[in-house]
């Protein structure tokens, strides 16, 4: 199987863009409202980065958007329909979520983990087909895991494991991909590789959202930034519009200066100082 045939298949399959958004979404943990009356939508075919301090509700929003967390009120719309009214397996063919905390079955190899990503495409009488095989090979290649595919997941480093989980969500072959801190454990090389993979997927027409803590990477690798604080979106827009020293101060209580990257023009933070507001 050649790389080009894989590439072709990946692009040709996505003919309709998927739209995901929420209207007046309220999400609670127990009695506490974490998110209240949130309106949000992900630009189609683009990469959206969600940034904000720890505990501001980024993961909660991703869980809400991926119907893992049921809303107390409001609605999540996938292609115009209430996501909770659609069959779950059907949703899983359109939308994949990489959660922040992961937990895998004991004694599972990387390839086996990635194979679970094919679950929504399989059924009792169609347990294995050519597309499963191709999707898994593509995902292994994309996450640079070909040499490790038969290793047990428990015996890998944190970053290798994170790449295996990314590969699993890629193997799901969905037009929509929500990634919660996909690069938090990765070395510089693999971070860039994953970000470039994300870019590549969006070039193929997929809609992606990722939670990222590193602001320069968020600016560099996304088309749209959503900045959150205390369960609310305080601003959103293109990286150039949104990323200002005032925003950094408001979000993180950090004074800094922003200079444009001489090569790409995307902002770099310098002179950082914690001020706590």
């Amino acid at each position: 199987m050649t790389a080009t045939s894989l590439q072709f298949k990946q692009t040709s399959e996505i003919n309709n863009l998927a739209r995901l958004g929420a209207e007046r979404l309220t999400l609670k943990h127990g009695k506490a409202s974490i998110i209240e009356n949130l309106d949000v939508s992900l630009p189609e075919g683009k990469v959206t980065a969600i940034v904000g301090p720890n505990g501001c509700g980024k993961s909660t929003v991703l869980n809400g958007l991926s119907r893992v967390h049921s809303p107390s009120s409001g609605v999540v719309l996938l292609d115009g329909k209430d996501i909770h009214s659609l069959p779950s397996k059907e949703v899983a063919r359109r939308l994949a979520l990489l959660p922040q905390d992961t937990l895998a079955p004991d004694g599972i190899t990387i390839e086996e983990l990635i194979r679970f990503g094919r679950h929504p495409h399989q059924s009792l009488l169609k347990q294995w087909a050519m597309d499963d095989q191709q999707a898994i090979n593509y995902a292994l290649n994309a996450a640079d895991l070909e040499g490790l595919k038969d290793r047990l997941l428990d015996t890998l480093s944190g970053g290798q494991r994170q790449r295996a989980w990314i590969a699993m969500s890629i193997a799901q072959e969905t037009p929509l991909l929500l990634l919660d801190e996909p690069t938090s454990a990765l070395d510089l090389g693999h971070q860039i590789e994953v970000f470039e993979l994300i870019r590549n997927l969006s070039r193929q027409g997929k809609t992606l959202a990722m939670v990222v803590h590193d602001l320069p990477s968020a600016c560099r690798y996304s088309d749209h930034i959503i900045a959150m604080k205390k369960g609310e979106i305080i601003t959103q827009g293109s990286p150039k519009e949104v990323m200002t020293k005032e925003l950094v101060r408001e979000l993180y209580g950090v004074e800094c200066d922003l200079i444009p990257d001489p090569m790409t023009g995307s902002p770099i933070l310098i002179n950082m100082k914690r001020v706590r507001s």
């Binding site: 949703v91 937990l103 079955p105 004991d106 679970f116 009792l124 294995w128 428990d154």
Partner: protein, 361 residues
């Protein structure tokens, strides 16, 4: 040259099964993926089970050679052996196989749902509650409803109570187990209380059953259990791919398109059915549910969820425990429940004391 350029186009590439699997194509649109290791494991267990069956059928106060046993099973052999095998020993053997498989399968299912090796129906109190209901129908109320139905009702009640008391945490977490242990203790006490209210003869005759025994089985209940077990095994085969997702976090399970709530409810219904019907036959021999799946997991090298293997190991454990109980102090017969408690008790302590990376399941 020309021939080469006419070679198969890309989309006709041959699909190969993943490592360790075999692809079974039935027609163009039907493909089954079969794990080789699981097939080999289950075939071995079936062979062992067959050997244990032949041995058990031959053992007793009138020993019969394996050859003769096999002849009888195939419809030959002399009249005496036919009578002993068919009428005396086979019903008990079938009861052992069915109850062992049912308890063990129920144990594997519940451990999987709860992600905890301690969470077996016996520990959650389902066995005891099933027994309390069944006993109450015989002695307490003076009306003898079908013990199977009562045992099922008891099993369902205990599960519902454990669920209710566990609150939001569902089947996951220790609250479910702690609540279940309490329910089991209460149900056990209720059984004792009921038995203390009836004449000593009735209590004596009910005694073996309340500690778990295959000597007091009712042929009708065995038949019902056999049907129930068969149905549950088929259901497990259909649901295997969904059960396989259960060790993941809830987020991943939902993300992959499975409905956790439905899967949990189905699994609990299967557990209740299997345990209730098995208790109606043999009383609470719940420790098989702890030991059987563990052996199956060791054989499976802790990979996947060995449902079928658990059923087979459970049947084996039950046959061997019953055989041991019948022969070790012969002519005195030890109830199988006591034998499994003697094996399973220390094992339970070992689980509790041992801390390994695999304590999650």
């Amino acid at each position: 040259m020309i021939n080469q350029s006419l070679s198969l186009p890309n989309n006709e590439e041959i699909t190969t099964a993943p490592n360790g699997h075999r692809l079974l194509s039935l027609g163009r649109h039907m493909t089954l993926l079969i794990e080789k290791q699981a097939i080999i494991r289950n075939v071995w267990l079936l062979i062992l089970l067959a050997i244990a069956c032949v041995a058990t059928l031959g053992m007793g106060s009138m020993p019969i050679s394996p050859k003769e046993v096999i002849a009888v099973l195939f419809g030959h052999g002399n009249v005496m052996s036919q009578f002993i095998v068919h009428d005396l020993r086979l019903p008990r053997l079938l009861a052992a196989i069915f109850t062992g498989a049912a308890f063990s399968l129920a144990g594997c299912l519940m451990q999987t749902m709860a992600r905890n090796r301690l969470a077996t129906p016996g520990i959650i109190g389902i066995d005891n509650a099933a027994m309390a209901f069944a006993v109450s129908s015989v002695v307490g109320m003076g009306v003898s409803l079908a013990p199977s139905a009562m045992a099922l009702a008891g099993a369902a009640t205990a599960t519902a109570l454990a669920f209710g008391l566990a609150g939001g945490s569902g089947t996951r977490g220790y609250r479910f187990i702690v609540a279940g242990i309490g329910i089991g203790a209460i149900a056990g006490a209720v059984t004792q209380l009921l038995l203390s209210q009836v004449s000593i003869d009735v209590a004596n005759s009910a005694y073996p059953w309340t500690v778990g025994s295959l000597s007091a089985r009712d042929p009708m209940m065995v038949k019902v259990l056999g049907i129930g077990l068969g149905t549950c095994l088929v259901a497990c085969l259909f649901l295997a791919s969904q059960f396989a997702l259960m060790p993941f976090s809830d987020q991943v399970i939902t993300g992959l398109g499975a409905n956790i709530k439905h899967i949990r409810i189905i699994a609990l219904v299967l557990c209740i059915t299997l345990t209730g019907l098995a208790v109606a036959v043999a009383g609470p021999v719940g420790l098989v549910a702890l030991v059987g799946p563990e052996i199956a997991r060791v054989l499976a090298r802790y990979r996947g969820i060995p449902l079928i293997s658990s059923a087979l190991t459970g049947a084996l454990v039950m046959i061997l425990a019953d055989l041991f109980g019948r022969t070790v102090l012969s002519p005195i017969e030890l109830p199988v429940g006591i034998v499994t408690a003697v094996i399973g008790g220390p094992y339970l302590i070992w689980i509790l004391v041992r801390r390994t990376s695999r304590t999650s399941l």
